[in-house]
């Protein structure tokens, strides 16, 4: 019983110091110059623009990543037109972005599509710029978030098996109809959980976006890269204002994660 007390106390200490104290700090630090300091930091033109950019990226990335993630998961689990070898190989490749440092993810896009490359020049000639512009930032974030949805949906598809789906198609249901009526109800909470994780990751993405965007103020700056720039300029209160907004979103997402996780486990 002594040991048990000790372990629980230690757990409380670690969690308080490592997780709760930082949260407390971020929520109090933003008010160091009072409410007006916080509002000034938030209502700067570059803050509003940065938050808008982040919002835009989150929406685009979440939509694309969800669509492709769910479809790829279905193919990798169900498709009969893929050989088992291709499935196994693709399954391993899906995880690779988890192992890639965000900075390297950004570098890859610069190397392939940057202004000095063949593809970049070609696209530049028709007036499309990828690097140092929104498309590149979206691409970078898509790369980083790619495995999330697949990793949530694939295990559920494997677990439920394809009996129900086969029954539906034997009874004459079309594949689209089978998907909505049979597959979707089973995977929807896994998809929702994946969406929450994708939003969290794309909201917080920093390294890849910093490299690809060039962090141009009022143009390609996002909320996280603005925090970085404010700190570099020793504008701590302003950085804290933006950080507080980001942290508040993170906590909302954390609560959502908790809520969907519970639903996901109930079958």
């Amino acid at each position: 019983m002594m040991m048990r007390r000790l372990w629980i106390t230690l757990t409380y200490i670690v969690v308080s110091l490592l997780l709760l104290l930082p949260l407390y700090k971020i929520f109090t630090g933003a008010w160091a110059d009072g409410l007006s300091g916080f509002m000034d930091a938030l209502l700067r033109a570059q803050s509003l623009h940065a938050l808008k950019m982040t919002g835009l990226i989150v929406i685009i990335v979440t939509v694309i990543n969800t669509l492709f993630g769910v479809m790829l998961s279905i193919y990798l689990v169900r498709a009969t037109w893929l050989s088992p070898l291709v499935k196994r190989l693709s399954n391993s490749i899906v995880d690779l972005p988890f192992a890639v440092s965000p900075v390297i993810g950004g570098l890859m896009i610069v190397l392939l599509l940057g202004p000095n490359t063949v593809l970049g020049t070609m696209l530049g000639n028709v007036g499309v710029s990828i690097v140092y512009a929104l498309p590149g930032m979206v691409l970078a974030t898509l790369f980083v978030t790619f495995p999330i949805m697949v990793r949530e949906v694939m295990p559920v598809l494997q677990e439920i098996g394809d009996q129900q789906e086969q029954a539906a198609s034997t009874l004459g249901a079309y594949s689209w109809y089978t998907f909505w009526k049979v597959t979707w109800p089973n995977i929807r909470f896994a998809v929702m959980y994946g969406v929450v994780l994708t939003v969290a990751r794309s909201l917080g993405e920093f390294g890849a976006v910093l490299v690809v965007s060039g962090n141009i103020i009022n143009k390609t700056q996002t909320a996280t890269t603005l925090v970085y720039q404010d700190v570099e300029n020793f504008n701590v209160v302003a950085a804290n204002g933006i950080a507080l907004v980001l942290a508040a979103f993170s906590i909302m997402l954390l609560l959502l994660m908790e809520w969907t996780k519970k639903r996901k486990e109930v079958h």
């Binding site: 048990r4 997780l19 930082p22 890859m108 898509l142 925090v227 700190v231």
Partner: protein, 267 residues
């Protein structure tokens, strides 16, 4: 709608689009960075890596990531154990707050560490220890960012552990410590190991949390991801690509090992 999705042509074009997306977004950039770093021959690749700043950055990263992983393995095992085995007030709150580092943007995490232990913090006033811009701050950032991995790897295994095995061991007269080392630890080990390796690969890739607090002194507190960022900024993509390839190869090997470990656990 149904007649649209019934046709084979649609189904084929969906497959093609999903796989082109997969190959274009994930596979081509990774191949691209490997070819880019070898594009001027092996010798220039080795030249880039034998820059003392480059290999010192990589070694420093590996060392600090290993320390952070060890710390996380110890406290993660303890917290995972406490959260599965004991009932106590506040348990659910702690369990949900564990995922905070996954939801919080890493740049915000770095910023909070700067506030908490930086030059103008209470911590510095009280203890007078320089943490920020030194190695301990980098370890702290890595510990924070990779905190959930070991706990989340361990929990499902502990929950599944058959209590009857443990009770059988006690009934047969085995001591508490012997039961722990012969029954419980072997069950926990795969979870701890794969959690620790995920934490390690995440730690060596970490950028956002580290860049703000490491001071980035070349040869002393400059980690690999920040080195890569610096090379990109100073327009040396070749050097950046060479270090990236080294880092990527290490991460891929770890990932491959985790895959093997997980498959071994299922068989």
């Amino acid at each position: 709608m149904n007649s649209l999705f019934r046709s084979q042509k649609w189904s084929y074009s969906f497959r093609t689009i999903v796989f082109i997306y997969f190959i274009g977004l994930i596979i081509i950039p990774i191949i691209g960075i490997y070819t880019q770093s070898f594009s001027s021959g092996i010798t220039s690749f080795i030249d880039n890596l034998s820059d003392p700043l480059a290999w010192k950055a990589v070694l420093l990263t590996l060392k600090l990531a290993a320390i952070a992983t060890l710390i996380n393995t110890a406290i993660g095992t303890m917290i995972g154990w406490v959260l599965v085995r004991y009932e106590f007030p506040g348990k659910r709150m702690i369990n949900s707050v564990i995922d905070l580092p996954f939801a919080l943007p890493t740049a915000v995490a770095g910023f909070i560490i700067l506030l908490l232990v930086g030059p103008s913090s209470l911590f510095y006033e009280w203890f007078g220890i320089d943490v920020v811009f030194h190695e301990p701050a980098i370890v702290l950032a890595m510990v924070f960012v990779t905190f959930p991995f070991v706990i989340r790897g361990l929990q499902p295994l502990l929950e599944e552990l058959d209590k009857s095995e443990e009770e059988a061991a006690y009934t047969l007269g085995s001591s508490k410590s012997r039961t722990f080392f012969q029954i419980i630890l072997p069950t926990m080990l795969p979870g701890i190991l794969s959690g620790a390796m995920l934490a390690f690969s995440r730690a060596i890739a970490e950028f956002g949390a580290v860049v703000l607090i490491s001071g980035n002194i070349p040869g002393k507190t400059l980690v690999a991801s920040v080195y890569i960022f610096g090379e990109i900024e100073s327009n040396n993509p070749q050097g950046a690509a060479a270090v990236s390839v080294l880092l990527l190869t290490i991460s891929f090997l770890i990932l491959w090992f985790i895959h093997k470990l997980n498959r071994g656990g299922q068989a």
